[in-house]
Every structure is written in structure tokens, then in C-alpha cells.
Amino acid sequence: MTSGPENIEQPTEQSTGSESTPSHPLVTALQREHPEWIGEVIHAFGETTIIVPREHIVAACSFLKTWPEGQFNFLSDICGADRGVEEEPRFEVNYHLFSTTKYHRVRLKVLLNEEDTHVPSVSGVWRTANWHERETFDMFGVIFDGHPDLRRILLPDDWQGHALRKDFPLRGYEPYSLK
């Protein structure tokens, strides 16, 4: 097995359901403190994913940042994903957290429906979330409430549509012309 990032006891176990067998001590401790934040826990491929309901994401992030068990002071990445045009919920936003003191990682996931793609912004918790959220907005159309400056970052400012959605064609809608 290629060396995984952290010392999880069962690296390839897939366990879902809200009363999962949390074999990771972090999840156990978090479940004791704030069980309403944990929608679902997935342990797979040596990583822990916690599905957090949308309204609790800011509270969960700021808690995890200062909690002595967690100390997740480094936000590696915010990444959106489109599950598919017919999926319900359609979009997901992944927050990859890292601790520079304890060297462990966790992924928080927020699931969004197609009609209501609003998520509270975590740029107050880690300032690096600013640009990551702008990119997720640009690519998927997920709107981050409370973001100081939510506008397009990679695509041109007058671009129509959101490029990484599954229903956006690969070649775009029209070839480029100067006019």
C-alpha cells in the first residue's frame, strides 16, 4: 500500500450512515461534542470525510480550527464538484483541512441542491478561502454568502455560464472571434 497520509486503523473500510462505526478518534471526539454537525462519516482510502449540513459549516470550521484535538489551522483547498445533472443533491463543496501542528487531514463536505446553491462563506475563518471560494463560484455557480468580493476569477468577467458544470459543453458554445 502506498503510504497514506495519516494513521487510520482501517484504511479501506467504507462505512456510511449517521451512526457509523467511527474508527477515527477525531470523529469520535467530535461526535461527543457536536453531534448535530455530523451528517455522515466516510472512511475510505485512508481519508476521513465528514458530511456537514450547510448551515453548520462555519461553526464547524471555526471550532475545528481552535479545538485542541483538531487544530486545523490550515485550509488546503476548497473544491467544488458536480455530481451529475440528474443527481440530487447535485453539487458538493469539499473543504480540505490540515493541521500544521498535528499533521492530520480531514475533509468536510457540504451537499447542495441545484435550486439553492448558497453556502455561508468561511473566509472569516481562514483568509485563504477567499480565492478558493471565488474559483468555486466561477466554475460551478455556488454562491458563498458573506464573501467579501465574490466575482469571477479565472474566466473572463463577461462569461456566461459556469464552466465545470456537467451540462456545459467541453468546447463551449461558440468559437472565438474578435468581433
Binding site: 467541453l170 468546447r171 463551449g172 468559437p175 472565438y176 474578435l178 468581433k179
Partner: protein
């Protein structure tokens, strides 16, 4: 620019031939590129200027940052849709005579990236003189392209390039109007007649270099 045109119009043909060869020699021996390095090909362009493959031997010594001081624009790298108007604006700012080398597969035709974000070929925006394939092309290929451009420059005549208005200058290739074939030429059984890689020019003297 202006003085040469005045002289050219006043003199008979045989003297303009001598004038042509002098002016073309001067132009091709000091082609100053404008820095337009976009992506990976820009690194190979930088490699072409360093000591192992020395582009300065061919006159392309200084890469001018200002397009107003440059002769040739080497478009090296993929041109995204956000960058395309910028590219056109830089090209427009270059004074005549100017040439464009499209370096790499992405500048020539979109390259690996056939998608919404990349302009499929910089010749949709500016008229191109020399295309270089490769991803990225080796620095020697860039030097070869500069040599081909020098061949092309030496075939020009002073009477051709005048201070013409912008719209007429763009008549060479109107952007976006390259003909799209239906593939019928690929199905023809006749071989195209073989051509040398450059068209011989009566002004050219091949020196061993």
C-alpha cells in the same frame, strides 16, 4: 519606412532591387522579438536565448518589452480567450514591418486543448508568418523558425510594404475566416508536388552557417 518608399517609387527597378537586398538584409539580421511568452513554450523560448542555443547569433538579441520597439512577435504558449484581445492589442501596437511566429502547437492550432477556454490557433487573431509545431518545440526549432522568417523577409520588396491604414493591413488574413475544408483533399490520390522547404528567392545567397 517613409524614406524608402519615396526612393522606391522614384527609382527604376534595378536600383530598387539593390535597395531591397540592403533593406532586407538589415531587417532580417536584427529581428527584435517582443516578449510574448505565455506558457511552457516561453520557457523553451528562454532556453533558446541562453548560452546553449544562442538566438542572439541570428540577430534576435534583445527581447523588447515594449511592442513599439519590436519587429517580430513570437506567440509562445496557449492563448486563452481572456488573453486574445490583449494579444491583438499588442500586435496592433507594433509598427510595420512586423511579423508573427506562432510557436508551439497551442499557438498554431489550439494544441492539446480543444476546449472552451483556448483560442484554436492564434491565426484567428493575427496573421502568422511562420508556424512551429511541437509541444513544446525544441529551442533548435525556434532558431530554425527564425531562419525561415529571415528567408521570408529577404524575399520581400520595399514596394510591398507601405504605411497603409490598419484595415488594409488586416486584409492579409481576416481573423476567423480561414477556410475550413471538408476533408476532400485528404481523399485525393494524387501526391502534391514536392516543394523545397523554403521557396528559393533570387535575393538569397546561401551561406554556410
Amino acid at each position: 519606412m517613409g524614406l524608402e518608399n519615396i526612393i522606391a517609387e522614384a527609382l527604376p527597378e534595378v536600383l530598387t532591387t539593390q535597395l531591397d537586398s540592403l533593406i532586407n538584409w538589415a531587417r532580417k539580421s536584427s529581428l527584435w522579438p517582443a516578449t510574448f511568452g505565455l506558457a511552457c513554450c516561453a520557457i523553451e523560448m528562454m532556453n533558446a536565448t541562453t548560452s546553449r542555443n544562442d538566438l542572439a547569433r541570428f540577430g534576435a538579441e534583445v527581447f523588447r518589452a515594449s511592442p513599439r520597439q519590436a519587429d517580430v512577435m513570437i506567440v509562445s504558449g496557449r492563448v486563452s480567450r481572456k488573453m486574445a484581445p490583449v494579444l491583438r492589442r499588442i500586435y496592433d501596437q507594433m509598427p510595420e514591418p512586423k511579423w508573427v511566429i506562432s510557436m508551439g502547437a497551442c499557438a498554431t492550432s489550439g494544441g492539446v486543448f480543444d476546449n472552451y477556454a483556448i483560442v484554436q490557433g492564434v491565426d484567428k487573431i493575427v496573421p502568422v508568418d511562420v508556424y512551429i509545431p511541437g509541444c513544446p518545440p525544441r529551442p533548435e526549432m525556434l532558431i530554425h523558425a527564425v531562419m525561415m522568417l529571415q528567408d521570408k523577409v529577404s524575399k520581400e520588396s520595399v514596394r510591398d510594404r507601405k504605411d497603409i491604414p490598419e484595415e488594409e493591413a488586416r486584409e492579409a488574413v481576416v481573423p476567423g475566416t480561414l477556410p475550413v475544408t471538408d476533408g476532400s483533399t485528404a481523399r485525393q490520390n494524387t501526391l502534391p508536388e514536392s516543394r523545397p522547404y523554403t521557396i528559393a528567392s533570387r535575393h538569397e545567397r546561401r551561406r554556410s552557417s
